[in-house]
């Protein structure tokens, strides 16, 4: 290895430049790869419902002078009966929201009534009518679904029906925060002013994503309450995946047919809702991929340019080595080793910079700490890229005939 290092000493500036470029690229690419991984993990999180089998719709009453814009419980029941009659629909329920559907309602939960210090803020409240658990396809790992007489008149927006139901299904994430390390089944928590309403946990689901993932509510922090109707809620329909398009098209006609004084501003196949929610993340991933691609291309071209220059500059020396008995493979190996050394220095500096950049980003943006294994792909990509980039100039070098040594250029 020694001659390689010795020769590099004569090209300090250019070596430093290449190493710097590699280091910068390595730092950026590593962090970009981590960002992509982070977003991909988020996008592939289990929602906890039957993604491929749901269609939802929200009807909105026009205020044309009737008593109330929102559908009454009787009207909602009629709507659901009509929706259930659409061919292919297996079941229908009404809820206030769905995982990743955007709008949510959150509130504080009391572990002990009247004890302000026992409040857990920002619990996400899902309310649903009869059959909601089955329709959405929520899997209970413990306990049971709601019983028919447990559905009560309760509105999250208060009003006359402000007494919540006495039972709830909670997510494992919420249970772990309320009662760490304990079996939540049969436990009691409290809602309302000073925690005056007691609610018993009858079921636990491992996963039910929040309607919106944000710093306050996190990813999962939900509970489900059984209600008779949901003011301003959404109808959720379950069916075979191939029926979704036809059902979605039928919904507005049926709802407006029942009551012309309203519109159906939102109706969607649920997988489209998920895909819309992650649109920004997808765009970000594409942007990162394009930038990574361009960065690697530019860096590779830089390496090609400099290696070619060195090969040209050292044509005579290569000829001498060849004349002294070095084989083509020796020359080739020399340039590959030289490149490996320079890129290696760049990568080591780059990895340190990558960790520093990650720490800085953590301070300024909501990013996680990058596990150190994420450094490996970035380092590997750059080392391989360096070797590939030097391949053509090294080949050219190995084809320098020994006779060059005797010529004066």
């Amino acid at each position: 290895m020694h001659p390689v290092v010795a020769a590099l000493k004569h090209h300090k500036t250019t070596v430093a430049l290449v190493a710097l470029e590699i280091a910068l690229t390595c730092a950026i690419v590593t962090n970009a790869l981590f960002l992509i991984g982070d977003r991909l993990a988020l996008m592939h999180m289990t929602t906890g419902v039957a993604d491929n089998q749901l269609v939802w719709a929200r009807a909105s009453g026009l205020d044309l002078g009737q008593d109330s814009g929102a559908a009454s419980p009787a009207e909602a029941a009629a709507d659901m009966a009509a929706l259930r009659a659409i061919p292919g629909v297996e079941s229908v329920a009404m809820t206030n929201s769905l995982p990743l559907a955007g709008s949510y309602w959150s509130m504080g939960i009391w572990r002990h009534p009247g004890d302000k210090h026992s409040v857990l803020d920002n619990a996400v409240e899902y309310v649903g009518t009869r059959g909601m658990v089955k329709t959405l396809g929520i899997n209970l790992s413990e306990g049971r679904d709601f019983l028919p007489d447990e559905y009560v008149d309760y509105s999250i927006f208060g009003g006359k029906a402000k007494v919540p139901p006495s039972v709830a299904i909670v997510t494992r994430a919420l249970a772990n925060q309320l009662w760490p390390g304990q079996d939540p089944l049969g436990k009691t928590f409290y809602l309302g002013d000073h925690g005056k309403y007691a609610i018993h946990v009858v079921g636990v689901t491992e996963h039910l994503l929040n309607p919106s993932i944000n710093p306050n509510q996190g990813i999962e922090r939900g509970l489900i309450l059984p209600v008779k109707s949901v003011q301003g809620g959404m109808y959720v329909l379950r069916m075979r995946p191939d029926m979704r398009k036809a059902v979605k098209e039928a919904i507005p006609k049926i709802l407006i047919g029942l009551d012309p004084s309203r519109i159906v501003p939102d109706d969607q196949i649920y997988t489209d809702t998920i895909s819309e929610y992650f649109h920004g993340d997808r765009a970000m991933i594409w942007l990162l991929l394009v930038v990574i691609g361009c960065l690697l291309a530019v860096t590779a071209l830089g390496v090609v340019g400099l290696s070619s220059f060195w090969v040209q500059q050292r044509t005579r020396q290569i000829g001498i080595r060849r004349a002294l008995g070095a084989t083509r493979a020796d020359i080739m190996r020399y340039f590959l080793a030289e490149n490996f050394l320079i890129v290696g220095i760049g990568v080591v500096v780059g990895l340190l910079a990558a960790v520093a950049l990650n720490l800085w980003l953590m301070d300024h943006y909501e990013l996680h700490r990058m596990p150190l294994v994420w450094l490996l792909p970035g380092a590997a990509v750059l080392l391989i890229l360096g070797q590939l980039a030097v391949l053509a100039p090294a080949l050219r070098a190995s084809h320098v005939p020994p006779v060059v040594a005797t010529r004066s250029v």
Partner: protein
Amino acid sequence: MLGYYLELAWRSLKRTPILTALMVLAIGLGIGASMTMITVLHVMTADPIPGRSAELFYPQLDPRPMEHYTKGEDPPDELTWIDAMNLLHAKKGVHQAAMVGGYLTVVPSEGATHAFIAGGRYTTADFFAMFDVPFVAGSGWTTGDDDKRAHVAVISRKLADRLYGTSGAVGKVLRLGKYDFRVVGVIDNWNPAPHFYDLGVGDYATQEQVFVPIETAMQLKQPIMTSMNCWGDIPTGDMTKAECTWMQFWVQLDTPAQVRAYRQFLIHYSKEQKQLGRFQRPPNTHLRDVMQWLAYNQVVPGSVQLEAMLALGFLLVCLVNTVALLLVKFLRRGGGLAVRRAMGASKRSVFAQLLVEAALTGLAGGLVGLLLALFGLWVVRQQPAAYAGLAHLDGAMLGVTFVLAVCATLLAALFPAWRACRLMPARLLKTQ
């Protein structure tokens, strides 16, 4: 001399077309990516109401109970009805307006079957004068209309065209649900971005279609759309009595003295309300102008800042790459340069010649970058994000593109050119 340098540069670039193309492409990619993201950042951080933004202020009060109180906590973003009305009627500013977003059912003359929902804003008389809202016809309503709870409305030009065609809309009847309103004014396309006066409905929300007096809207129980923060029991029906913050309030203060006086007034008001038993916490007030308010609410999403930094990082790598390639290029030409030096050219003139060559490369890179930025912005405009439609390259940014490209390239060329003219002519000539 410059003409001669340009000719030399042109010849040199032609001699190494691949290397030149590589450099132009690298600079172009870096400039294109950075300009795309800088332009997006530029439109997103733009002053939504130029000339007035330093005179418009958003007061904040803290009416919440002592429960969950932590010292130094920010007061809520919105005001309660009572506080907003108290500040409004105190008339301590040049102009002031209370407001909230909402939506209204517009019933056109064709009948109820053609009814549709339009975005609205319930506000008070000063809104239009304070924000310099441009009118096509008519004007805003008066404070008297506010107090009388008059059924008057100001509508957007778009809605006026849709409902009344080309004929004048002022004086016409506008049916909102079961109530008749009289149109008193039509405003031109006015769409401040960011939507500074109410960020709760979306940082880059689009213009409201209907404006009606807030007292009228509350009396008629029209639906509101806002970010709401409540304590105690959940509100039932009448929002004007609810223990919730849900209204926006803006005040115009023209001089620093007025601003100081208003700050004092807010503290005084908080103390007074605490004495009255309405407030429990010690005075916790803020008064921010438009740009401070936008910064406080972090209107520019972190992801956009991150993308802009990524683009600048990319530009940096492209420049390091350019330094390396220029160094190679200039050193390779050592022989030619040595001949020029031997023939009597000074170090300075060789240096200048190399910089002219670099500038030419930078200019070409800028052109490529401009095309890439135009393409990049087109891609951004195809995104469904609310700010996407704003992403256009204006004249200033066009200039910035070229200045950035040429300056960056010149900067990158300084070191290689300096190295190249330090070479010893005699030694180089000997080895030839």
